[in-house]
């Protein structure tokens, strides 16, 4: 009798062991399933963002072209006495074309970045001149909302040469300025400030517009994300500007900081690193100097 008892106990023990092993396996399986579900949700969200982006971009390109074709048609049909009207149409064409130029710059930049072909192109550039050029390009857009653009040069210099990538810095500041104008109220002022110390040159764009609420602050640098984002919103823009600016800033070993309060406005600051002993900010002979101590092939 006692032998059968022991066998039963051993059996039960063995069953319990296997049962708990299966329970563990089930738990693991459930966890893997949960992870898979999470990834699927993220994938679906990503696809939705991308589709939304693509249809949005189509509008960003088609609308300006429609306006340009319409306006140029009107100029073609205008009579000499309608010169003032023709000028107004020409101004529309200029504005729409400039807007399109900026949007396309952002789209191509994002595509290039994601494809991996971007490198910094350093050269000696006058940062003050660069900022002035950007400001000039946005005068018209600002005037439409009666916004005043001012430059506050705190560098005590007429010309300020730095080692930088002119094209990328221009696009970053253009994105700052475009956003500032977009989110500013009419009859307001936007201040562009240039400041420096031994380590950095700072370019900041400050507006007194809508500002960014706390929860949105975390996503402003994500691609495709625009503040007022629903399909019916008439807000223009691709949602790429800040993510591109962020990438460019990192590429130039610099950083972007911002301060913002809902309904009080925002300030975006580009802090350009000017410390020359950083390897990556030099481009002498393709940085050959750092490889001189190596053998050759």
């Amino acid at each position: 009798m006692s032998e059968i008892n022991i066998t039963n106990e051993i059996l039960i023990e063995e069953l319990q062991k296997r049962f708990s092993k299966y329970q563990n396996t089930l738990k693991e399986l459930k966890k893997v399933n949960d992870d898979l579900n999470k990834v699927n949700i993220k994938l679906a969200e990503s696809e939705e963002l991308k589709s939304h982006f693509l249809s949005n971009i189509a509008n960003e390109i088609i609308n300006p072209f429609t306006a340009i074709i319409g306006a140029s048609q009107m100029i073609l049909e205008a009579e000499p006495k309608d010169f003032e009207f023709a000028q107004k149409m020409a101004k529309n064409i200029y504005n729409e074309a400039s807007y399109l130029d900026f949007q396309l710059k952002n789209i191509f930049a994002a595509a290039e970045i994601e494809a991996g072909g971007i490198s910094p192109m350093y050269s000696k550039m006058n940062i003050l001149e660069t900022i002035c050029s950007v400001k000039e390009r946005y005068e018209n857009l600002a005037k439409d909302k009666n916004i005043k653009l001012t430059i506050d040069n705190k560098t005590n210099k007429e010309e300020y040469y730095i080692n930088g990538d002119n094209e990328k810095i221009s696009l970053i500041v253009s994105n700052f300025l475009n956003n500032a104008i977009k989110f500013s109220y009419e009859n307001s002022e936007i201040e562009i400030k240039i400041d420096n110390n031994e380590k950095n040159v700072c370019v900041s764009v400050k507006d007194t517009g809508e500002g960014i609420c706390e929860e949105k602050k975390k996503i402003i640098f994500d691609r495709f994300n625009r503040i007022k984002d629903n399909i019916n919103s008439i807000e223009r823009g691709s949602g790429l500007g800040l993510s591109i600016s962020n990438y460019y800033a990192e590429l130039l070993d610099s950083e972007i900081l911002f301060e913002s309060k809902k309904n009080q406005g925002s300030q975006f600051i580009l802090k350009l690193n000017q410390e020359i002993d950083d390897i990556h900010s030099l481009s002498i002979d393709d940085n050959q100097i750092f490889f001189e101590d190596m053998e050759t092939f």
Binding site: G116, H280, M294, F297
Partner: protein, 154 residues
Amino acid sequence: MEIKQYYLYPSTLFASDEPYHIKTILGSCVAVCLWDSALKIGGMNHYMLPLWNGKGLASPKYGNIAMEKLIEKMINLGSKKYNLQAKVFGGAEVLQQQTINYNIGRRNVIMAYESLREHNIPIISQSVKGLSGRKIIFATNTGEVLHKVLTKNK
């Protein structure tokens, strides 16, 4: 013939069907050199973090994207995957970055291994991890890589 030089910045990648000496400097970042033994062409990436987390642009700053893009570029240049060989460099534990991104070097290296294994690309040599940075020069016509470990005096 003077071979063209190309300095590869972090978060970027470069491949070409022309002969190049591609150079880069690595700390905790990882660079993978891909060489096509049949066409005698090559390319290299240089990434800083292992995985793209969905924030910001999907750029080659992230290993999973950098690896896919580099392989894609080589295929676009005419390479067949079965002719590709890899050499992996970098992934050191650089002291300043330890506190912010623990083990980032090691995680970057693991990303390279996983990606290459997935694509069946053999790793024929490597110099990874450790505590020092590295300088490498990749000759894309011969597949050779010159490699130097950076010691503290440099």
